[in-house]
């Protein structure tokens, strides 16, 4: 009987030691594989066997750790996504003050070409448009009368002409410098006879102004789509 009891005690003792080693090995190994888990955890685990309060604390720490791991994983994924998107992004044109003078010169030349192409595009579009006599005549008179009275001092109406979806108004400013520009802007900022899109070109050397205005409910022809490939926007 005594021998049996001793045997049972030994078996229980061996199992307890094996269990403790097993747990210690498990958490000890995890702490080595992840830098996030401090090595203290293994000893905390062993000590936790002694105290139920410490045991609960250990469980809380373990849960927090798992949550942190999850968050870290998410952050890593987000970072990878951002890096992938950044590498796909187009590099914008360098138009800063630090731009190479040669580049700036090339940009100005390109702009000048575009301005010329744009004016030609609008001129061709307007001239090629069929006329709507009923609307055209009314709109033409309306614009003529409006700019004759609304134009600021120093701004004169030269000619107005309307076709079917757009009108062309030619104006002139007495002074092509900043004063003339302001007078033109003050004129242009007033409420027009109808709400329409306007494209206004001021030649700052001659003071000539050409304005194209769309009919209400219409838009001006898209000159950008016509000059595909030459687009300077980014």
């Amino acid at each position: 009987m005594k021998q049996n009891q001793i045997f049972i005690v030994i078996v229980i003792g061996v199992l307890a030691i094996a269990g403790a080693f097993g747990l210690g090995w498990k958490y000890g190994l995890r702490s080595e594989s992840s830098p996030v888990v401090p090595n203290v955890l293994a000893s905390t685990l062993l000590n936790a066997q002694k105290n139920p309060q410490e045991d609960r604390r250990f469980e809380e720490m373990r849960r927090e750790l798992e949550q942190m791991r999850g968050k870290l994983g998410l952050l890593e994924e987000q970072q990878r996504g951002i890096q992938a998107n950044t590498s796909k992004m187009e590099v914008p044109a360098n138009v800063s003050d630090n731009a190479n003078p040669a580049d700036s010169e090339a940009l100005r030349a390109q702009e000048a070409q575009q301005v010329e192409a744009k004016q030609k595009f609008f001129k061709d579009a307007f001239q090629g448009e069929p006329t709507d006599p009923k609307w055209g005549q009314k709109a033409q008179t309306s614009l003529q009368e409006y700019y004759a009275s609304a134009a600021e001092k120093g701004v004169s109406v030269i000619d107005t002409e309307c076709h079917s979806t757009m009108c062309r108004v030619k104006l002139s400013v007495d002074q092509a410098g900043p004063k003339g520009q302001k007078q033109l802007m003050d004129t242009m900022n007033k409420r027009t006879p109808w709400p329409g899109y306007r494209n206004v070109h001021l030649d700052t050397t001659t003071g000539e102004v050409t304005m194209y205005m769309s009919r209400e409910g219409s838009t001006l022809p898209d000159w950008q789509s016509d000059s595909a490939g030459e687009e300077m926007t980014h």
Partner: protein
């Protein structure tokens, strides 16, 4: 029998749920528009004369112009916020210049438009969007949507919102909606 009777509606509910969840799982088409909100004080009267008739609170700009006139002002839209094109601007105004019995927006002293200004060597190009009137809101805040100028941004262009507000009207804020 009972089981069959119950199974059919359950199947339907399950099918609908699966379809709904599938629809949710499909990536939504991302809006290509972003919006930036600016306080009314980002607007400045565009000449010294009209500046005399303007005053501001911490967010609004007010007009105490004489009846029959309106306060013209430029509202800044920083170019670095516009990647491609200014789609539209939503302006929040309080327009109390018209009489309470006149709801016709065409008689309102308040209207806005957008414009894009491009400086070139030897010329300046302006693109204006169509103006939009505000309704007589009898002093209440009212939103007006103003179309963009219809041209994309270029390295040498500037965007602007231009508004005229009538006597005792105020511009509270505006939101630039841009295409990215």
């Amino acid at each position: 029998m009972k089981k069959q009777l119950l199974a059919q509606p359950l199947k339907s509910v399950l099918s609908i749920s699966v379809i709904a969840l599938s629809a949710l799982a499909v990536p939504q088409v991302q809006a290509d528009t972003t919006s930036t909100n600016y306080p009314g004080l980002m607007c400045q009267p565009h000449d010294p004369k009209s500046a005399l008739y303007a005053y501001g609170t911490f967010t609004d700009i007010y007009s105490n112009e004489l009846p029959g006139n309106s306060l013209g002002m430029n509202c800044s839209i920083p170019r670095d916020k516009v990647d491609k094109q200014l789609n539209s601007v939503t302006v929040i105004v309080s327009d109390s210049d018209a009489s309470l019995t006149d709801p016709n927006p065409n008689n309102s002293g308040t209207f806005c438009h957008t414009h894009n200004e491009t400086l070139n060597a030897g010329s300046i190009d302006y693109a204006f969007g169509p103006y939009a009137n505000t309704y007589n809101a009898n002093g209440l805040y009212n939103a007006v949507t103003v179309a963009g100028p219809g041209v994309p941004v270029s390295p040498t262009s500037n965007f602007n919102l231009h508004c005229h507000i009538g006597v005792n009207a105020s511009l509270h804020n505006y939101t630039a909606n841009v295409r990215r």
